[in-house]
Amino acid sequence: MYRYDEIDQRLVEERVAQFRDQTRRFLAGRLSEDDFRSLRLRNGLYIQRYGPMLRVAIPYGLLTSLQLRTLAHIARKWDRGYGHFSTRQNLQFNWVRLEDAPDILAELARVQMHAIQTSGNCVRNITTDHFAGIARDEIVDSFVWCELLRQWSTFHPEFSYLPRKFKIAVNGARADRAAVFLHDIGLQAVRDSAGEVGFRVIVGGGMGRTPIIGHVMREFLPWPHLLTYVEAVLRVYNRYGRRDNIHKARIKILVKALTPERFREEVEAEWASHKDGPSTLTEEEVRRVQGQFARPPYAQLPGDDAAYAAYLAAEPAFGAWAKRNVHPHKVPGYAAVTLSLKKTGVPPGDATADQMDAVANLTDRYSLGELRVSHEQNLILADVRQAGLHALWQEAKALGLATPNIGLLTNIIACPGGDFCSLANAKSIPVAQAIQERFDRLDYLYDIGELDLNISGCMNSCGHHHVGHIGILGVDKNGEEWYQISIGGNQGLTRAGAPAALGKVIGPSFAREQIPDVIEKLIEVYLDQRESEEERFIDVVWRTGIEPFKECVYGSHHQGHERRSRSLAAA
């Protein structure tokens, strides 16, 4: 992880003191609800259905075992013994008391953690590829660039009251595992013909109510200009982004309104005036930040481990887990392991304090003390020796963290939904569970193959339903919970070069109890239509379009509905 220096540490401590004072003034009645809102939000405190929720930052998803133990301790002492890993690689506590929040933040600061800018209309936690630094298709180690951006954006005086929240993602590998086309700013590392590092800058993507694939603003931004260019984008947005309507305030709406071409011209004009100024990054600074990342000390291993290969051959259950949950590593003899937080019956992304402690122990014993949170809401031990994989699997199984479903239908991404969130139209967790129960048979699951199923409880799309191969969205119809299904979305990370795409709604929405049947029908169409096992669900949707799926799900009712719509339109 990035080790704080004295200044980094002092700043998070000063933040705790500042927030303690703000909370004190609020509780004493000297700050109104309204005044306090924007202050608490930028410290990760939402007022939710059952009281405040605290969102802790896990910068770019990287975490040490000590930090995870601290999160477990906080869960026990101030919450109800568990936490929820979010799609933005953060951790949420759902049951804290406002009065305790300053103490919790102080506890976090002791292990170089914070909740700074995890909410509010400011630059949020910067997300990245959960295989950063270990991927075989790495172009750069994106953690370094994320940290440079984290520092730049922390307490930025000019950009602390933006029109709306602002999310930046960095991808440092060839495959896009950070969904750079679906962020306010996406930065894709590239090398030019001379081998120099730069970034393809994508602006104005996003999900939410108005899902949009981002626009490439620059094909190659040389790395020294990273901060000054991002500053120019933010300034244009801060000045001209809409502030009259919260649903039209994201940068994507501004880019669309101006047109990407005009927006680019505005940014270029703005950039010209401070480009090459003092905020231009230096090689020395990049090296300094790199140096603050304590890279794990890898052993020199000859290559693939023979005992691991033998276990794979001998134990099909281990082989099945390894196929789904073990990932290649750039260092010979090592592998990355996904610990699945998607066991049937457990809300996706939830982990108990005991599980956190147990994972911290596994991390120390098997993975050099560091782990990552993936945006699919799983935990990743990134530096496991192949020789330890079998033992790790057995321990993970005992902990309920070895569900071999990574990349499969039951590895569902879901927001906390109506069970916790006050914005939600509908619940997501029971829907996820009903689907997981329906598809609990592993051989069936394996036959279906790679499939991303994402559930959001409302249009804010925290569950990334727009980019699920199958997306489920909770909608409100006259006070009742209904669910809209879309297919064909893709976050652009399953295969190198696979484009990001937004799903298409297949038709009128369904009651909750109908959902498992509908999903099963979609799967039947897929299995029937696919030309080989290599052709995934998403490939079939893209090849055939959504019609065959629609037909099967709605049948004649669907045609009647279509006809009615057409005649109404004609009238």
Binding site: L11, L39, F159, P163, R239, L281, E285
Partner: protein
């Protein structure tokens, strides 16, 4: 006389700030005294305002372009920026542009829906005078300038980002004055 924060002190404010009438028409011009006029008034009464006794300042609303006064800055004793709502952060960028792009070196005043919890950010963008919203105690608010002892990024107040100041003899590096 109202008090404001200026140069980290609480001082009496000699300026009277004028506003357009509700129907958008111009208010009467006081015969004497130091006045801060809205942009529209400056644009329409320019010569008359310059001819009257007393000093002149201008204020911008969050939606107004600082470029509109860039050529005239030398004529003003103060430039002020309104924050209609605390969540409306356009004024921070206006301050940046007035300082860094158009070179305004005099009093830059923030007013409107601001209180102690915005002072650190406002100062970072180059504001050096602050008329807090009604009901705030400016003396108590002074402590907020010290909320953070460092800033990572370059700003108007400290153009060199932390990474360019690490090796300088003075930890603060270059100061805007």
């Amino acid at each position: 006389m109202a008090v404001i924060i200026k140069g980290m002190n609480v001082v009496a404010d000699p300026w009277q700030r004028l506003e357009l009438n509700a129907d958008g028409s111009l208010p009467p011009v006081p015969p004497s005294g130091d006045i801060i006029v809205p942009l529209a008034m400056w644009q329409r009464l320019r010569d008359g305002l310059l001819a009257r006794p007393g000093r002149l300042g201008v204020w911008l609303n969050a939606n107004e372009e600082p470029a509109a006064i860039a050529e005239d800055l030398r004529l003003f004793g103060v430039v002020a920026v309104n924050f209609p709502k605390v969540t409306d952060g356009r004024g921070y960028s206006i301050a940046y542009l007035l300082r860094a792009r158009y070179g305004w070196k005099g009093e830059l005043r923030a007013f409107g829906d601001i209180w102690r919890d915005q002072l650190f950010f406002l100062a970072g963008c180059g504001f050096n005078a602050f008329a807090l919203r009604e009901g705030e105690d400016p003396r108590e608010a002074l402590a907020a300038f010290g909320d953070f002892s460092e800033s990572y990024q370059g700003s108007v107040a400290r153009p060199l980002p932390l990474f360019r100041r690490r090796h300088l003899p003075s930890p603060d590096g270059m100061e805007w004055s």
